[in-house]
């Protein structure tokens, strides 16, 4: 039954392609189009869900062999990437769970997004996202996992900027994507190091080799992947992106940040359990970051006044607890926690818009007296511990400042050193213009040598060489030798004329002929 794993991410991908092409050529608009699109999207994810459940059943009955490969995607020397799917264990559980949640959310969106302007775009994104997430959890290869990881991140960008005419939404989307890109860099670094040290990029082979890696090596690899996981699962110091990401439509928030994508980081850690167990330092990092995020999210969550923000901090807090559990070695617990959290949070975020109906009239439970009296904590909490301004101050602005400085450096130093040809608009194009210029400036300080301008190192070099040669020409050749040459020429001319006049006299002519004959005779 292993081959079924291929179809799980394939159906939503085909649906996304179909909707995308239809959107590009402006087909399927109006209510009829809406029905086609929603049917395609729901049908595709239903198929995936059905197959994922069959695969899970087969696995529980012990009918799966463990992995299924459909061939090589990319190969360069020993760096070979095969498209492999894992068909047993936790991966099948997660792909079944996620496909069910995705089905629920996509079905929910059909009514929720009815007659919205970006209906097609929304379902394109959601289908692509479903495909990417299902690839992420079922892939047997680190690089294909990364492909799913990155495309899910891209879909998140597209859905945060869903209302792209609102500047705040697009600023947040860009910020979220670039923040996640830092985590992606950690992921790629992890891939590179795994290939370099372990010589493999398959999950199974890497985990099997974990025992043979030295502890520092395992620590470095684990820390790289941990960075990626912290960024994707909104752990400290990356937590603020989650609040920014809540811009998108509610169903997308539910599926991205409540149920599915936010857990990708945690999933990555669980996949790398053997490597982490080999690296005590990385386990400590998980404990510290997980605990800090849990405390931070709890504190900040206390002062949130809208539903989505409270959920957002509750989510990062729960994920912090999961990281803590992993760090302490309770891997099974973390795995169960992930599934349970995904289900409950999906329900919560989907129903967030109608929450007021259910809680209206209920009194708000106040926090305990001891915490209320901590004024500084209140301020810190309401400011979310200034994480965003700190990141701005320490990373974004210095980089932009450096860019600005380099830009100036490029224009005023490098470009000038390398030189630019004189602008034709400033150059003199006719002799009349030159005359005018000479007349307009006083004769004495107009230097005719200024005609040729050079810029840049090479340009200045040639200008100076030309000046020296020009001076040489003017002083030595024209003024020094020049006048004498005319005199000498005159004298030579006179001498030649005299000689010719003498020659033309008959006696000298006869003498000349005799001399010639004499010379001829002696030979």
């Amino acid at each position: 039954m292993d081959f079924l794993a291929v179809f799980i991410p394939l159906f939503p991908l085909l649906a996304a392609l179909f909707i995308g092409i239809g959107h590009l050529f402006d087909r399927m608009s109006g209510d009829a189009g809406e029905r086609i699109i929603s049917n395609i999207a729901v049908l595709a994810i239903s198929f995936s869900c059905f197959i994922a459940l069959i695969l899970l059943g087969a696995d529980l009955l012990g009918m799966n062999s463990g992995s299924f490969s459909i061939g090589q995607w990319l190969g360069s020397d020993t760096f070979k990437i095969e498209v492999t799917f894992i068909t047993t264990g936790y991966n099948t559980v997660l792909s079944a769970l996620f496909s069910v949640l995705l089905l629920i959310v996509i079905r929910f969106s059909v009514n929720y997004m009815h007659r919205e302007t970006g209906f097609r775009r929304f379902f394109f994104n959601l289908s692509l996202f479903a495909s990417a997430m299902l690839l992420l959890v079922s892939s047997g290869n680190i690089v294909t996992t990364f492909i799913g990881w990155e495309i899910a991140g891209l879909c998140s960008y597209l859905l945060i900027s869903y209302a792209y005419d609102r500047p705040i939404a697009t600023i947040n989307a860009t910020r979220v994507f670039v923040t996640n890109r830092i985590g992606d860099a950690g992921f790629i670094l992890g891939i590179g190091l795994s290939y370099f040290y372990a010589g493999t990029i398959n999950w199974d082979a890497l985990n099997a080799l974990a025992g043979e890696l030295t502890i520092p090596t395992a620590t470095v690899i684990a820390l790289c992947f941990a960075t990626a996981a912290f960024a994707k699962s909104a752990q400290l110091p990356f937590t603020p992106w989650l609040a920014r990401a809540m811009e998108g439509p509610t169903p997308s928030s539910a599926v991205f940040y409540g149920a599915v994508m936010i857990h990708a980081g945690m999933f990555l850690i669980i996949m790398l359990q053997p490597i982490f167990e080999r690296a005590p330092l990385a386990m400590d990092a998980l404990v510290i970051v997980g605990f800090a995020t849990a405390v931070y999210s709890f504190t900040v969550g206390l002062t949130q006044t809208d539903v989505k923000s409270s959920y957002c901090f509750a989510i990062s807090g729960q994920l912090g607890l999961m990281f803590l559990e992993c760090g302490l070695g309770y891997w099974e617990l973390a795995a169960y926690h992930l599934c349970a959290h995904a289900i409950i949070r999906c329900y919560q975020v989907l129903t967030a818009p109608s929450l007021m109906h259910n809680v209206v009239g209920n009194p708000i439970k106040t926090v305990s007296r001891d915490i209320i009296n901590l004024r500084w904590l209140y301020i810190a909490s309401i400011q979310r511990f200034w994480l965003d301004p700190i990141a701005d101050r320490t990373l974004v602005r210095p980089i932009q400042g450096l860019g600005q400085d380099l830009s100036h450096f490029d224009i005023y130093v490098i470009d000038r050193l390398m030189g630019t040809p004189a602008s034709p608009s400033r150059a003199i194009s006719s002799l009349a213009q030159l005359e005018q210029k000479i007349l307009s400036t006083s004769q004495s300080d107009f230097n005719i040598n200024q005609f040729g301008h050079g810029s840049g190192i090479a340009g200045k070099f040639f200008e100076w060489t030309a000046k020296i040669l020009g001076w040489f020409e003017e002083r030595l050749v024209l003024q020094g030798i020049g006048m004498d040459i005319i005199d000498i020429g005159n004298k030579l001319g006179h001498a030649a004329n005299t000689f010719e006049r003498l020659l033309l006299k008959p006696r000298y002519l006869v003498l000349f002929v005799f001399i010639v004959l004499l010379i001829a005779a002696t030979r």
């Binding site: 760096f79 495309i151 670039v178 590179g192 030189g419």
Partner: protein, 501 residues
């Protein structure tokens, strides 16, 4: 080396030249345009046939043709391709067609001359990619200059276009001097090594020069000269200043050719490293440091650009830096990734440049301050722009991803610091592309001029469709490209690693 039965490479080089002459002779402008386009299409067909004839399992040069040319100096007419160069031929032919189509209506004066020059340029470019004799290569290398000079100077869109054309030409000539010197040293060395005499025993053909041993001190000199000559064209910092100027002042489709055809990097790959292998291994750190500096420098400046064309020019500089880092890693992944990325440039960087041209043609500006909210007015243009932008910073699914992944893996396995620089470049890449996308395409429509813009026409849609399809195909099936250059890359690498100290 295996000789060709049929002189297909010569035809590929000469056909566009003939097309240029015919285009120039025909009186009627519209007919001339159609003739030029059909020549360009036929050229593409021929290059595709050449790829079909090419056998990727042979490491050496194939489809070679050899004629005596200047017998006094032993200069030959020697052309041939290997796995590194073959794919550049169809892509440059495709780029010529795309450039023609995109300038179909925007060029209004001296139209025949313009199209003839584009064909002449394609001829010289095909020559650069196939020439195996150093003098012949140098000839084609310099022959690319006059078309670019006129194309930038006569049909540029900025007020300083003449200056930009002059700047480009002067920079390239400066690089050419270094190349010529290196070529003379190489050929004189051959005569000395075989105890021959100087005009009779000179040799300029690449296969012979690759076999000739070169003394160590000369290797250093030759490597640095060739590196300088090619670095100007690549361009590497600090010799890059002509590119932003040419991109801002020149016409968009010429800027697309300049950013799409990376002749300089090809030169480093084909000549600079293999001809001086010991020096190349010894000085590969110079190459990688220059590459890393270029990568970060270009990325940071791109972050500050307010004009789309300036942004794309600096992004192109930054990408060249990444390719240099990958080449200098001297690993299989690095070199294959670098070749892949060079092919990507012809599709991605040039298409982005053409899109900037479409915007400029409609609005008269590509400054971010004049744009804003274009995605709602021109969804198709926005879609293509976004797709190519994603490919340019290597999002999976596009051909940018496998190339970038291979380059980063190559850099990481040779030197972790360089890999880190490459990763920082990848983060910067996302930052500058997306922040410009946000300013230009998203947000509310502020200017009425933007509101009146028309979306892509059928012609523009068609010419963007081909590269878009190709980057998706190469993104899904990267092995199609990697298999073609695999054997040649192995041979290339073997040559350098056997000389490693």
């Amino acid at each position: 080396m295996s000789e060709a039965n049929f002189p297909i490479l010569s035809i590929i080089i000469l056909l566009p030249l003939l097309g240029g002459v015919v285009t120039g002779i025909v009186r009627d402008t519209n007919t001339a345009k159609k003739i030029a386009l059909s020549f360009a299409c036929f050229e593409l067909l021929l290059t595709v046939i050449a790829v079909k004839l090419f056998d990727p399992s042979i490491a050496g040069f194939q489809l070679t043709e050899k004629l005596s040319w200047i017998s006094l100096l032993n200069v030959e007419y020697l052309v041939g391709v290997d796995g590194i160069s073959i794919l550049f031929l169809p892509l440059s032919a495709l780029l010529t067609i795309i450039a023609m189509l995109s300038s179909w209506n925007s060029v209004t004066h001296s139209t025949r001359f313009h199209f003839a020059l584009l064909l002449a340029l394609q001829s010289a470019t095909a020559g650069v990619f196939t020439a195996l004799d150093m003098v012949l290569f140098f000839l084609y290398w310099e022959l690319t200059l006059p078309p670019f000079f006129f194309l930038i100077g006569l049909w540029g869109i900025g007020s300083q276009r003449r200056g930009a054309a002059m700047k480009y030409t002067l920079f390239m000539l400066a690089g050419g001097v270094a190349l010529l010197l290196a070529i003379i040293i190489l050929s004189a060395n051959h005569a000395i090594q075989i105890d021959g005499r100087i005009p009779q025993d000179l040799a300029f053909s690449l296969p012979i020069l690759l076999e000739t041993p070169l003394p160590h001190d000369l290797q250093t000199l030759v490597f640095l000269l060739l590196l300088f000559g090619f670095a100007v064209k690549a361009p590497l910092v600090p010799f890059h200043t002509w590119l932003p100027t040419a991109a801002m002042e020149g016409p968009a489709h010429i800027a697309a050719l300049l950013t799409g055809l990376k002749l300089g990097v090809y030169g480093i790959l084909r000549f600079a490293l293999p001809l001086a292998p010991v020096a190349a291994v010894e000085f590969s750190w110079i190459l990688s440091v220059f590459g890393a500096v270029t990568l970060i420098y270009g990325g940071l400046i791109a972050l500050q650009q307010t004009n789309l064309r300036g942004l794309l020019a600096y992004a192109s500089v930054s990408h060249v830096g990444m390719v240099m880092v990958a080449i200098a890693s001297l690993s299989m992944q690095g070199i294959q990734g670098a070749i892949f990325q060079l092919l990507n440039f012809a599709l991605i960087a040039s298409s982005l440049m053409l899109i900037s041209g479409f915007i400029h043609h409609r609005l008269g500006s590509t400054e971010a301050i004049h744009l804003g909210g274009m995605a709602s007015v021109m969804p198709r243009l926005a879609f293509f722009y976004f797709l190519f932008a994603l490919a340019s910073f290597g999002v999976p699914g596009t051909s940018g991803f496998p190339a970038e992944l291979l380059m980063i893996i190559g850099a990481l396995t040779s030197h972790a610091g360089l890999g880190a620089a490459a990763l920082a470049g990848a983060i910067l890449g996302a930052a500058y592309m997306l922040s410009f996308t946000r300013r230009a395409f998203f947000g509310p429509v502020i200017h009425t001029a933007v509101n009146n813009m028309h979306d892509l026409q059928t012609r523009e849609l068609a010419l963007l469709f081909a590269p878009a399809l190709l980057i998706l195909i190469f993104g899904f099936f990267p092995d199609t490209i990697l298999n073609i250059n695999k054997v040649a890359s192995e041979a290339w690498l073997l040559r350098l690693t056997t000389y490693a100290p």
